[in-house]
Symmetry: C3
Subunit: 276 residues, 3 copies
């Protein structure tokens, strides 16, 4: 059964999810529709890209991913479909694909021109549904649009390494449901620059100098459970996407707080590592 995933900024209350899913079932009787998320901050393609970058490859090859964020058609914003890494992405050409992957070249890109064949008031959502269902039926991208050679690239803020190569200045790219702070410093960069040297990461009054492998590596298991006081302890680790993450052990944003609230870290704030 074909799979179509949905990543939008609709929220979970309005009628937009209903119209989207209904329209897909109108086109395809047998399809698995999967909500990746509808809680993208309005128009925030950076968030949408972060979430898809870390989840799309988990789906079977051939999966079609609809990204309906900031998709109103304009002279600046085409509707596009990408065949990339054996997946399909149906999305606006607003740079989001360049944020999902910079390394993998698309096998095929088309500018969707279905709207020229449909009624004038056809919405972006309807265009995306028609395109995604066409692909899910095994249809060719050439039927729904004209080949594009180029697509919009956005520069993601990359970590900066100083000339002496003993400092990485990265920044916060995402704060997750637990309040954990994810930076743009990859394990690869950290290891290439650090070469195993000791380091310090200073945030507010706190110093980190060790990267843990698991959250619970910080737990003192020699103490009996009732005497342990590890909840809320600060730690660094590389998350499942291999980015440096600043976490609190068993954090909870609504009770004890998370790393983001306790360390006062917001999106885009600097995260600096000094190798010693």
């Amino acid at each position: 059964m074909p799979i179509i995933t949905l990543t939008t900024d609709y929220g979970l209350k309005d009628h937009y999810i209903g119209t989207l899913k209904g329209a897909i079932y109108q086109e395809l009787e047998n399809v698995q529709i999967v909500d990746v998320t509808h809680k993208i901050s309005p128009f925030n393609i950076i968030e949408a890209a972060y979430i898809l970058k870390n989840s799309y490859a988990s789906f079977p090859k051939g999966t079609v991913h609809i990204i309906d964020v900031d998709s109103e058609l304009s002279v600046d914003n085409k509707h596009t479909a990408f065949h990339l890494d054996d997946h399909y992405f149906v999305c606006p050409d607003n740079g989001i694909i360049s944020l999902i992957t910079n390394d993998i070249k698309p096998k095929k890109i088309v500018e969707i021109n279905l709207h020229k064949r449909l009624e004038a008031n056809t919405t972006a959502q309807q265009i995306f549904v028609k395109t995604a269902c066409h692909i899910s039926r095994g249809g060719s991208l050439d039927i729904v649009g004209n080949s594009l050679r180029e697509f919009k690239h956005l520069q993601q803020i990359q970590p900066h390494v100083n000339d002496a190569r003993n400092k990485i200045v990265g920044s916060v790219i995402y704060i997750d449901n637990y309040g954990n702070v994810i930076s743009n410093i990859s394990k690869k960069l950290f290891q290439e620059v650090g070469k195993g040297r000791p380091f310090e990461l200073q945030i507010r009054k706190f110093t980190f100098n060790r990267v843990y492998k698991n959250y619970n590596d910080i737990v003192n298991y020699t103490l009996p459970k009732a005497k342990r006081q590890d909840d809320g302890r600060r730690l660094l680790l590389f998350n499942s996407a291999n980015y440096l993450e600043i976490a609190l052990y068993r954090s909870n944003l609504t009770t004890v707080g998370g790393a983001s609230t306790l360390l006062g870290l917001d999106y885009q704030e600097p995260v600096t590592i000094n190798f010693l």
Copy 2:
């Protein structure tokens, strides 16, 4: 595969969604269950009606829509099933159907009487599931209830047009995820009364005198992108459901705010158009 959609005020945490979906799968092995929304404000049938009114027709004919909002059985509140516009609605007879559509007459209405054949403590949810699954299997409405000729009608607040026919006084019926404010003034009424005349819509200190076609019609594309300052600009348009909407371009309730917060507009507040 039959489709059953769900519109409830359960929220997304309690066990009610699990019991509902589990019960459906007990009855039907092959079924597509679609969440329209579970975020209706508790007991708010006006919201539930607004969301279904704008989404039900997107689904294939024959779809069964369960609406579990304010559904406790009482002398005032029957359980009903409607065959309407080639769709089925399983819901309380609390007026919600009259808010979804006033124009289309139901082909068939039954008062569900399954509870008389089931255990005393059978919940409204279980009754709705039994009914929806019966319909999904192709069963007749007559099996689950007795024909009803009448159903409860609620008067929705309609826009008022003055005698001179140069003024429409409508009101806010919904505020969406982006903070956009949707009024009950339809494009049809606006055009019938306005007959192409210029108009003014005054809200707080702001005057609107133009209806845009798309959100980005407000963008000054002659400027280079970096110099544009269109985010947050106010505009009027007819939304995809053809109701007059007061919007901010690329609004975000949690950052810059939306039309609802910046203009201080709440549900049911008046929206007045003066034709000049």
Copy 3:
């Protein structure tokens, strides 16, 4: 088609739902994935247990329930799979099963040892997916782990009955989407201790001395609808899970408030019944 349900503390925005569902579809083409909830408070296995306890049995026999809450592998926290009450649970051995049911003995328990056969950085989520899909394909628990005789038990706070057997001191175990307050006092205990005697339940300045059968039993239907003032009236009833619940008729946490806010009741606060 096999059913796999998901109960997690991921929230609804991060990429974790996408990676989880994608991984399941990689393993199984035909499967119904059902979100029970992703809104468990971080690491709160008591909440997760309450929600599953009240919903799992609604699903068909053979359903596989993944519970990914507090699941990081440690010397303290094994990964386990349970065959229990004709359902399967794939979850950490952190006591959650003992909170879901204390009465029903598991037919089979295994400590999952798949991680020993997979790459070192395999996540708990991936282990749970592999296990759940194996079971969904009809595979034996013995293939994914070693039999366990014991599993972790957590003591849930039980209501206390005094020696004179005229008083039950229970506590709040959950507050639902409507602000209704659910206690750990079961209908069975209430009836066994009370033996039909009158009672008083005092909360703040309010006294309850009657258990209603339905929410709307509190409504005065002899008055015409426009004159009724029942919304927000306080009442006791046994909820669908047969626990004593303190409710407000048609409460709404975001407008008039619910029982939890108006009575100032929080999780774990005492609820005392005096029989007269």
